[in-house]
């Protein structure tokens, strides 16, 4: 078990290195992507700030709470964009053009190689931006030391849940072959998840909490951090992660069995 973990950590380190070497050979493109990410972060915070110049609260949340929520979203989104997103965009090409063949003959988990191979090198460098904002607004909200200790774990848990949901959805490419529609669906679900859950009502909220649990990704950890009595949402989130892993492993086997490769 330990040697397997070491194997995958070393392999992942090599993925990171290879992606950095590749990305940095296109110097202007590398810098441009970093600038674009910075503009994106600034525009998100500016939008929330503009809204709060006109209203005192949104639902039950004040400016600091929503700013923290947005920082939390961006921290998780940063991990998703840096470590996973490129792999989703590439998957349909791998399936249609048969590039997946080479990943399937490698002596490592095909799931690992398929979804963690491509890293957006430039984006990884910007982790300080959302984390600094999260710490700044957490401080303003008067977080206790308990909150600070569990915060990194909650970010990782949220990243895991979003990764599981998006990977499960991406598996549909094995049958649909074309990936653009699936990738837009993923992005739409990301948009849905980026709002406080109280803006959704009734049936829609239940679907987005229990069936496609995107509302748990950012809302559950934020609500728990604002009020530790709200622990039930965390139980829901942990259950969703556990179920997600089971579904993904089962689904991945189906995907590989149905894979027909491409003609040479």
């Amino acid at each position: 078990m330990l040697s397997r973990t070491k194997y995958y950590l070393l392999l992942y380190r090599e993925f990171i290195k290879t992606c950095f070497v590749e990305a940095m050979s296109f110097r202007l493109h590398f810098v441009l992507l970093i600038i674009m990410d910075l503009v994106f972060y600034a525009s998100v915070f500016a939008s929330v700030d503009i809204i709060y110049q006109h209203v005192e609260t949104i639902g039950t949340w004040n400016r600091e709470q929503l700013m923290f929520f947005v920082s939390f979203i961006l921290s998780v989104n940063h991990l998703q964009m840096s470590l996973l997103a490129n792999n989703y965009w590439e998957l349909s090409l791998l399936i249609r053009q048969g590039g997946l063949d080479f990943l399937l003959v490698k002596p490592a988990s095909s799931l690992f190689s398929t979804f963690l191979r491509r890293i957006s090198a430039g984006s990884t460098l910007l982790f300080l931006v959302p984390w600094s904002c999260m710490i700044y607004f957490g401080n303003k909200l008067g977080f206790t030391w308990h909150a600070w200790v569990i915060l990194p774990f909650l970010v990782l848990l949220a990243f895991m849940l979003t990764g599981l949901i998006e990977t499960i959805i991406s598996c549909a490419m094995f049958w649909m072959l074309e990936g653009v529609g699936i990738n837009f669906l993923r992005m739409q679900l990301q948009q849905v998840a980026r709002w406080p859950d109280f803006i959704y009502a009734g049936f829609i909220r239940k679907i987005l909490t229990f069936f496609i649990p995107v509302l748990l990704i950012y809302n559950a950890p934020s609500r728990f951090l604002f009020d530790f009595h709200d622990w039930l949402v965390m139980v829901g989130m942990l259950s969703a992660v556990a179920i997600g892993w089971v579904v993904l492993f089962f689904l991945w086997k189906l995907c590989l069995n149905s894979y027909e490769s491409a003609s040479s």
């Binding site: 392999l11 290879t18 590749e22 590989l256 027909e260 040479s264």
Partner: protein, 333 residues
């Protein structure tokens, strides 16, 4: 080493009528049909042998290799390669095999090959010392020492195939699957790749299954040939038997002083003319070779002629046009 029995693969496909109306119709209703890419297939390849898998486009050669490497799951049948069932994708099995596809690349396009090799070093857990030694040996054999730090996208097709081969051999595989390794290469590059494969096999005694469109590959490398037609094995035997399928005929080429019209003397010997009718290629039975050659020399303005064994391309073309020839050959084999 490699055995399979009744191995087959079916694919589901659908036909679409041309044009917008056909597209609209198939959008709402598709009539699927099952196509047999590989029909029940048996083979046994002992350790250390090089076997050539031959057949026209769409015969099922690549599908067979994909089933052997665990990329595609068979629809039925059993397969055992060095003690593993490839469809189970056992990690230990994947460490012992290598796959080279002439039409696809596993190297990172925007990086020098050496960076891709280092990633492969991690995948296959090759110790640093062994890795350096192996890269050095292979680079020398393939004469690519100066290319390892050049971006893959800047390499010529022949150079790329060399580093591609290198990447597949770094982990010393026991079984190598080569799917059209010389496709698209010029004659010199083809010869270099063949030479390398032959030397590598000689040094390492690994098992190699090769598919190719170029008969020269098969002739140069394999003693045994498996011929597939429409997903079915139609011949399995030594290359000499396959070459003799059309009987003990000789291929004779005559060059003429000037353009020559069709001549009744030539018609029984399947004449193949060049564009300006100054050269003809004939298939003449061995026992009539002398007699027919003398007649042609007397009747036609021959300036030069030479005799050679019937090229295997011609044999393959003929058996594809007349598959019944294969059945009798297979019975004799």
């Amino acid at each position: 080493m490699i055995t399979c029995q009744g191995l087959y693969k079916n694919f589901k496909t659908y036909q679409k009528e041309p044009g917008f109306a056909g597209t609209l119709k198939s959008f709402f209703k598709r009539e699927y049909e099952t196509k047999s890419a590989v029909k029940p297939f048996d083979i046994e390849i002992p350790e250390g042998e090089i076997v050539g898998l031959l057949g026209p486009n769409g015969a099922g050669k690549t599908t067979l290799i994909k089933m052997f490497t665990g990329i595609v799951v068979p629809s039925g049948g059993t397969v055992n390669i060095i003690g593993f069932n490839p469809a189970k994708r056992d990690r230990r099995y994947r460490k012992k095999i290598a796959l080279v596809m002439g039409q696809k690349s596993q190297l990172w396009w925007d990086l020098p090959a050496m960076d891709s090799f280092q990633l492969l070093q991690r995948y296959y857990e090759i110790a640093e010392r062994d890795f350096k030694k192996r890269v050095g040996e292979l680079a020398e054999l393939l004469d690519v020492q100066k290319l390892l730090n050049v971006h893959v996208r800047k390499l010529s097709l022949g150079e790329r195939m060399k580093v591609e081969l290198m990447s597949c051999l770094l982990h010393k595989p026991e079984v190598i699957f080569l799917d059209e390794p010389t496709i698209g290469l010029d004659l010199i590059a083809q010869r270099n790749i063949r030479q390398f494969i032959r030397d590598y096999h000689h040094r390492n005694h690994c098992t190699i299954l090769l598919t190719s469109h170029y008969m020269a590959d098969v002739e140069a490398l394999c003693s045994r040939l498996v011929f597939i037609l429409e997903g079915e094995k139609r011949f399995d035997g030594d290359i000499t038997t396959f070459s003799n399928l059309l009987g003990s005929e000789k291929n004779v080429v005559f060059d003429f002083e000037n353009s020559v019209e069709e001549h009744p003397l030539l018609i029984p010997f399947d004449p193949h003319w060049n564009d300006d009718h100054t050269r003809v290629e004939l298939r003449i039975p061995h026992n009539r070779l002398k007699e027919v050659t003398v007649q042609i020399l007397e009747c036609l303005p021959v300036v030069e002629f030479n005799t050679e064994k019937l090229p295997i391309e011609r044999v393959m073309k003929t058996v594809m046009e007349n598959p019944a020839l294969l059945e009798s050959a297979q019975r004799e084999n």
